[in-house]
């Protein structure tokens, strides 16, 4: 077990080093997320005001869309010089490779989320600071669920034709529960009258269960899916 975690950490740290050097994914994904938020802002705002309660939805659209971009690029790096196959040849249980890549995806998506949350709060005048710990937990749980499915799909699509289109086509319907739960929990926490913790807890429960089930399922199927 510790060998698996050590290998996963090694792979995640390698991704971190590469990203710290090029900053390519973080820069493009963040800008893309900001552009998403703006596009939705333009389409929703009338007479200078956004309708009530759209901020949470816009935030999660930004996270989900930029997440697909990050996933695609992070696995393109492994595919470009055939390095993913070498990772799979390491003498450790293969799910370690999945875990390592998952950690990298979560780190990247969290970094984008950390920038996007204050930005959305600022544009839509939301009480982000008041409910920050709750929001951070919801976003991290949502990102984990999204990345748990996304990492497996992006990894397996690596040897597929038309992988760029197929990733969002497969990923968005599959992560509908994450998006609904994330949006609902976020807007419950952002209630102008004060955070509605009762509702938020209900949705956090959905997120935790989703993360647990799909993480287990992905770890269990990873080796079989990756074998050609």
């Amino acid at each position: 077990m510790s060998a698996v975690l050590r290998a996963a950490w090694l792979i995640a740290r390698k991704d971190f080093t590469i990203e710290a050097r090029s900053r390519e994914i973080i820069a493009t994904a963040t800008f893309f997320a900001v552009a998403c938020v703006l596009v939705f802002g333009f389409s929703l705002v009338t007479e200078g005001r956004a309708p009530e309660g759209v901020a949470a939805g816009v935030l999660w659209i930004g996270i989900a869309f930029s997440g697909t971009l990050s996933l695609g690029r992070l696995f393109e790096r492994e595919r470009a010089h055939d390095t993913l196959r070498t990772l799979l040849l390491a003498p450790i249980e293969r799910p370690a490779v999945y875990l390592g890549k998952l950690l990298g995806v979560i780190m990247l998506m969290s970094a984008v989320g950390a920038l996007l949350l204050p930005f959305t709060g600022f544009l839509f005048d939301q009480a982000v600071i008041r409910s920050f710990p709750g929001l951070a937990a919801v976003i991290l749980l949502g990102i984990t669920g999204y990345a748990a499915v996304g990492t497996l799909f992006a990894a397996m699509l690596g040897r597929s034709r038309s992988r760029d289109v197929l990733l969002p086509v497969l990923l968005y319907p599959m992560t509908v529960p994450v998006l609904i739960a994330g949006v609902r929990a976020t807007s419950a926490l952002l209630e102008p009258a004060g955070s509605d913790w009762e509702t938020a807890r209900l949705w956090i429960g959905v997120l935790v269960a989703f993360d647990a089930v799909f993480l287990t399922l992905a770890l269990w199927t990873f080796e079989a899916v990756m074998e050609e």
């Binding site: 590469i18 990772l87 040849l89 390491a90």
Partner: protein
């Protein structure tokens, strides 16, 4: 064993053994099934029918430790262009649990002739430099089953010579080598046996004499 991809049969009833101290060269036209065979041998792909036994045991009985015995060089170099040569070797060395990594990395950099460029990103290297580094990466953890896909591609004459020497040394030290090549002149100096793969079928190229001639007459 056989392997099919959907409706295409990549390998048909291929059967052979390769013992320690043997080097098996695979020759044949592009798309004939050489890479598929190497993928199957490295357990990245699973045969549609049949089995591959390593010292008489199936991969499932071996577990992940089996992969530590493989030294695999694919058709691409499998190096991260953003990382330096040294960083690449250290990363893969740790992942493959190579013992006394520091001295091995130093030795590998020397063998690849990259000591002076060790800390430059691999993305700035020429094709030949990358290929030399990739070979060292594949050998770093001391594997005894070498599966090399076109290892001579991109190498100049002196690098090819040194690869021949390295492979011959590994072979004589008891490793089993299976490699594909279009480079008959270098391949025949490593190989103890030569197999031709055409349309997924394997046949042996027997006899002596220059490999190029044997290949021509067999086709």
């Amino acid at each position: 064993m056989s392997r099919r991809y959907g409706r295409v049969r990549a390998l048909a009833d291929v059967s052979f053994t390769c013992g320690g101290g043997e080097a098996l060269a695979l020759v044949g036209p592009n798309g004939a099934g050489k890479s598929t065979l190497l993928n199957l041998l490295s357990t990245l792909a699973r045969p549609t029918a049949g089995d591959i036994l390593y010292d008489g045991r199936r991969p499932a009985a071996w577990g992940p430790a089996l992969r530590g015995r493989f030294g695999v060089l694919g058709h691409d170099v499998s190096l991260y262009p953003e990382l330096s040569a040294r960083e690449n070797l250290i990363f893969f060395g740790r992942l493959f649990a190579a013992p006394d990594l520091e001295s091995r990395v130093a030795g590998a950099l020397a063998a690849a002739g990259l000591e002076r460029r060790a800390d430059a990103p691999v993305g700035t290297f020429s094709r030949g430099m990358r290929q030399r580094l990739a070979i060292e990466r594949a050998l770093l953890h001391g594997p005894d089953i070498l599966l090399f896909d076109e290892p001579f591609t991109g190498l100049d004459e002196s690098a090819s010579e040194s690869l021949v020497a390295r492979l011959a040394a590994a072979r004589d030290a008891g490793a089993c080598i299976v490699f594909s090549s279009h480079d008959f002149e270098h391949a025949e100096r490593v190989a103890t046996r030569v197999a031709m793969i055409d349309s997924g079928r394997l046949s042996w190229l027997e006899g002596t004499g220059p490999l190029r001639e044997r290949y021509r007459s067999a086709r």
